[in-house]
């Protein structure tokens, strides 16, 4: 197995290297009037000529790994090179820890390329050693906190291997990421996945307690940063998932629907943490939530209150969605009359 250094792009073309003399390079076939042709570099042409050659011959060898790595470095979306590389690794029973180490670099460099993560997943299905992945993922997420593929990889890893030890530190990881950016929706989503959508793990059997814990968590976060759509979506999600009425949160939400009072009391209410002194209020998401509470309660009086709130969103606090709020008003009035 060549070390990653020797597998770096060769200076000489394959056509000039004696160790490749036995391979017949195959040029890419293009018809006379190609569509959207790419102006390939000489290096890419040379490497892919040899890739086509080696694939036609069906060769599985160490040098296939060198060649496919080269092609992938030039074009990380070259799925045929990835696939041929994977099959060759399997055919040679190549050491997969070496391959994963090389792939760490790719994950860092090309974290937005589907193939990088797909290949990684295939390797993990063979090694079945998911634990070291968590640290790598955490490191990559430090750099790109919302990278979709990286989060998806973590979620797959946890759900697929589903080992108690893998889940152990997950809520702490969520907290670390949340402390960096409380508006990172990927973290909120991950929390929901860990708490509600991946089964009930040991120590989490008391769902009443879990619900209470999650409500306190999200309320505190809203108190720190009221205009955070991710937190409000989480709150709605938790209530809907556990079939709790929105009305159970009315007392908490109300202070966020009005301008910040000039003076605030210093009574600490853990159940209903108030907005901070520098909060930008009223908060549109809170107004919408309270309107939903009134709509949920039903009756002409409550519908009137909801309509008034929707009107304030349409005309003042969320004017981009004016048509949407006006539609909500029409619907509610039509249903209640």
């Amino acid at each position: 197995m060549p070390a990653p250094e020797t597998a770096a792009p060769a200076k000489l073309k394959y056509a000039e290297r004696p160790e490749w003399a036995d391979v017949e390079p195959l040029q890419q076939y293009e018809i006379a009037n190609p569509l959207a042709p790419i102006l390939y570099s000489e290096e890419y042409k040379d490497a892919t000529d040899y890739l086509r050659g080696i694939v036609k011959a069906g060769e599985r060898s160490e040098r296939v790994l060198e060649l496919t790595e080269h092609v992938i470095r030039l074009n990380p979306a070259h799925y045929s090179a990835w696939q041929y590389r994977y099959e060759t690794l399997v055919a040679l029973s190549a050491p997969l820890d070496v391959e994963l180490k090389l792939m760490d670099e790719f994950a860092d460099k090309h974290l937005k390329t589907y193939q990088v993560w797909h290949h990684r997943r295939l390797l993990l299905l063979l090694t079945r050693k998911p634990a070291p992945e968590l640290a790598l993922i955490a490191r990559i997420l430090q750099r790109d906190e919302k990278n979709y593929h990286t989060w998806a990889h973590r979620q797959w890893l946890l759900a697929f291997f589903n080992e108690p030890s893998l889940w152990e530190g997950e809520l702490d990881f969520v907290d670390t990421m949340m402390n960096k950016d409380v508006r990172n929706n990927s973290v909120w989503h991950h929390r929901f996945f860990v708490v509600f959508q991946s089964g009930v793990r040991e120590g989490e059997e008391d769902r009443e307690r879990i619900l209470k814990r999650e409500l306190i968590y999200v309320k505190q976060n809203i108190s720190l940063a009221p205009n955070n759509a991710s937190a409000w979506n989480y709150l709605r999600g938790v209530l809907e998932h556990t079939r709790q009425p929105f009305g159970s949160l009315a007392a908490f939400v109300q202070p966020y629907t009005v301008p910040l009072p000039a003076s605030t009391t210093d009574i600490v209410d853990l159940e209903n943490p108030p907005p901070g002194r520098d909060a930008d209020l009223p908060c549109a998401a809170a107004i919408e939530f309270l309107a939903d509470v009134y709509e949920e309660r039903g009756g002409a009086d409550n519908v009137d209150k909801a309509v008034e709130l929707w009107r304030s969103l349409a005309n003042e606090h969320d004017t981009i969605r004016k048509k949407y709020w006006e539609w909500r008003i029409r619907e509610a009035l039509a249903t209640s009359s």
């Binding site: 018809i31 790419i38 390939y40 998806a152 981009i320």
Partner: protein
């Protein structure tokens, strides 16, 4: 916001020049598109079509040679028949005996979808299409959990993109018999999130692109005794999509809390159309955002000030086409933003979809 800014002009001729240039030549820096050239072809040909200039800006000779290139990527093997992204693994004509064994260069489901649509745009007669082969290919791409891989027998990655393409092709063929529809539908359900949008895979975060794919696939599916979406599910999706419109720019976000991006104007806007909620978004600010993403020298970028690419150019034009009828027609420059009717479900002009639905299914025997 009470007095909307007038819409800037749509730089039609600059966009035409941009996509024609891309069809003729892509720079070496775009080599990562080598394995998805067919999709680029679709974005470029589709842009010309949405702009309504395909007949005037290209010759019959051009269009014939383009169709020839697309059919050149049509391959057959033990997995059935379909289209490859391009000749990146070919060393001889697909019409001759293939030099590379087909197992290493199979058709790709997304490329098959974009090839069929491109051919319909170019008014191909589809006499060369092997329907049983195509159905067999789609079946070979389906996995046990109902999802679809991009290539047969579990090859390539699997997510909602492939599933949507499979459903769309089945719908155009008028034949879902080679795939397990109910299993696929339950896979879509497993991608649904608490936010109301859908993730790319089960347990993934809600994203506007995959939300479109999920909602469109459910609509394309053959009718079932019960609606494919409950009222609560539909309302939640609509709620999340409506809130994806950014209040400052009017553009659409791909995920909660992220910056808007022109391509999500298409994905979010089209999903709302399919849900019948197109009148609930602000079409003027929506179009305003797309207008602001136009690049000075042609093409449309993901955000204002960025460089354009064929993907964002096409999706932005398609998004504008869907919402043009909802603009204020008294608007001074409205005329430049006028388009032929557009089908959000298949992602092509209505007349293209009609052509495809007439010619892609097997000819009826009399």
């Amino acid at each position: 916001m009470d007095v909307p800014h007038p819409l800037p002009p749509l730089a039609r001729s600059a966009h035409v020049a941009y996509v024609k240039h891309a069809l003729a030549n892509l720079p070496g820096s775009m080599v990562s598109l080598d394995a998805s050239r067919m999709a680029i072809v679709f974005y470029c040909v589709g842009s010309l079509d949405v702009l309504g200039v395909l007949q005037t800006e290209t010759s019959e000779t051009d269009r014939t040679s383009w169709r020839t290139w697309i059919w050149e990527q049509y391959v057959a093997g033990r997995y059935g028949t379909g289209f490859k992204p391009g000749p990146f693994m070919s060393s001889s004509s697909s019409n001759a005996r293939p030099a590379v064994p087909c197992e290493q260069d199979p058709p790709h489901i997304i490329m098959t979808y974009t090839a069929l649509l491109s051919l319909a745009i170019l008014r191909d007669d589809f006499t060369r299409l092997n329907r049983p082969g195509l159905l067999h290919f789609l079946g070979a791409c389906q996995n046990k959990d109902g999802s679809f891989s991009s290539m047969p027998f579990g090859g390539g990655d699997s997510d909602l993109r492939n599933l949507y393409c499979a459903f769309c092709i089945c719908s155009l063929l008028g034949d879902f018999s080679s795939i397990n529809v109910e299993r696929a539908i339950s896979f879509i359900g497993s991608c649904r999130t608490y936010e109301g949008g859908y993730g790319q895979l089960p347990s993934c975060e809600a994203q506007a692109g995959t939300t479109y794919l999920a909602i469109a696939a459910l609509r394309l599916a053959p009718p079932a005794p019960r609606p494919r979406l409950t009222t609560a599910e539909r309302v939640r999706s609509e709620h999340w999509l409506i809130h994806s419109q950014d209040s400052l720019s009017g553009g659409f976000r791909g995920r909660t809390g992220k910056a808007p991006d022109a391509c999500y104007c298409f994905w979010g806007g089209a999903a709302l159309q399919i849900l019948g909620a197109q009148d609930k978004l602000n079409a003027h600010e929506f179009t305003q955002f797309i207008a602001s993403c136009q690049f000075r020298f042609g093409g449309i970028a993901k955000t204002p000030g960025q460089h354009p690419d064929p993907y964002h150019t096409y999706l932005s034009l398609a998004a504008a086409a869907m919402y043009a009828p909802r603009l204020d027609q008294n608007e001074q420059r409205y005329g430049q933003w006028e388009f032929a009717p557009f089908d959000p479900l298949v992602n092509a002009r209505v007349d293209v979809v009609r052509w495809a639905r007439e010619r892609i299914p097997a000819p009826r025997r009399h």
